[in-house]
């Protein structure tokens, strides 16, 4: 009962904040609303017994990635009027985008509701997870079954750091 209430409240907060992300004029407000969406999604992850994912959602997404966004917004020093002020180059762009989005949502909804989702049940029931601990299980899987993707991820992050530095550094004139 309490679980359902938490789901409804957090789901509504997530949806309203996501709509605000799209329709705010000032990008810094969009960033703040996106942080709120991510935090409420973290609460939903806790409801789904994924505590480790909830923690890194708050730390990595709401913490690290969004701080990067806010830094760039402040670095570029955009005022709210200069970007969105111009006229539509495509006729009826906003209307058709919203109509197409609603069609997409209808398709997703029909597929979700009509399809009966089957699959082989794994061994990690909530009781088993709560006995051992979610974080410990994730760590064990990362360093046994998924150790190769884990190493690839570290190379990917290294490449991203190098790429970001090279792209964003100032050209030095000889």
């Amino acid at each position: 009962m309490l679980e359902g209430l938490v789901f409804i409240v957090m789901g509504l907060i997530a949806i309203v904040c996501a709509i605000c992300v799209v329709f705010q004029k000032n990008p810094i407000y969009s960033a703040v609303f996106l942080i709120q969406t991510m935090v409420s999604l973290a609460v939903l992850y806790v409801l789904l017994h994924a505590e480790f994912i909830a923690a890194i959602q708050v730390m990595v997404y709401a913490g690290a990635i969004m701080v990067l966004f806010v830094f760039v917004i402040m670095l570029l020093n955009l005022s709210s009027g200069d970007v969105e002020g111009g006229k539509d180059k495509l006729i009826l762009q906003k209307t058709s985008a919203i109509i197409l989005g609603l069609i997409l949502f209808a398709v997703i909804g029909v597929v979700t509701v009509k399809t009966v989702l089957h699959g082989t049940q794994g061994e990690y029931t909530p009781e088993y997870i709560s006995r051992i601990g979610n974080t410990q299980l994730v760590g064990k899987l990362l360093f046994t079954d998924y150790v190769f993707p884990f190493e690839i991820a570290s190379i990917l992050l290294f490449a991203a750091v190098l790429g970001a530095i090279i792209l964003a550094k100032k050209e030095i004139k000889e």
Binding site: E3, F7, G11, A14, I15, A18, V21, V22, A31, L34, T37, M38, L41, L44, Y45, A50, I53, I56, Q57, V60, Y61, I65, L68, F69, L75, L76, L78, D82, V83, G86, Q93, A97, I98, G101, L102, L104, F105, I108, G109, T112, L117, G119, T120, Q121, G122, T125, I129, N134, L137, V138, L141, P149, A153, L156, L157, A160, A164, L167, A168, K170
Partner: protein, 100 residues
């Protein structure tokens, strides 16, 4: 116990809002934030399926998606900074060099 299809519907709603944002906004940074929103919606679906099938693989996948999202945010924002330095604007309508 909440039916898990509710989570999938919520994930679909968030994904749709992200798509509408990408299609309607002009500010490159806001478009980028909408992409992050879509990634979050997919993460929610992954965690829901992981819970439904009593499997940990979905959560491991979300871990890797977050890694890729961090790398993507770093490179993408660097591209936006470089574009702003060259063009003086982050409006995607101004970026039409490769337009036929």
């Amino acid at each position: 116990m909440i039916p898990l299809s509710w989570y999938l519907i919520l994930s679909g709603i968030l994904f749709t809002i992200g798509v509408i944002g990408v299609l309607t906004r002009r500010n490159a940074i806001v478009i980028f934030m909408c992409i992050e929103l879509m990634l979050n919606a997919v993460n929610l679906a992954f965690v829901t399926f992981s819970r439904q099938l009593n499997s940990m693989d979905g959560q491991i996948f979300v871990f890797f998606i977050m890694t890729v999202a961090a790398a993507e945010a770093a490179v993408g924002l660097a591209i936006i900074v470089a574009l702003f330095r060259n063009k003086g604007s982050v409006n995607v309508d101004d970026m039409n060099l490769m337009k036929w």
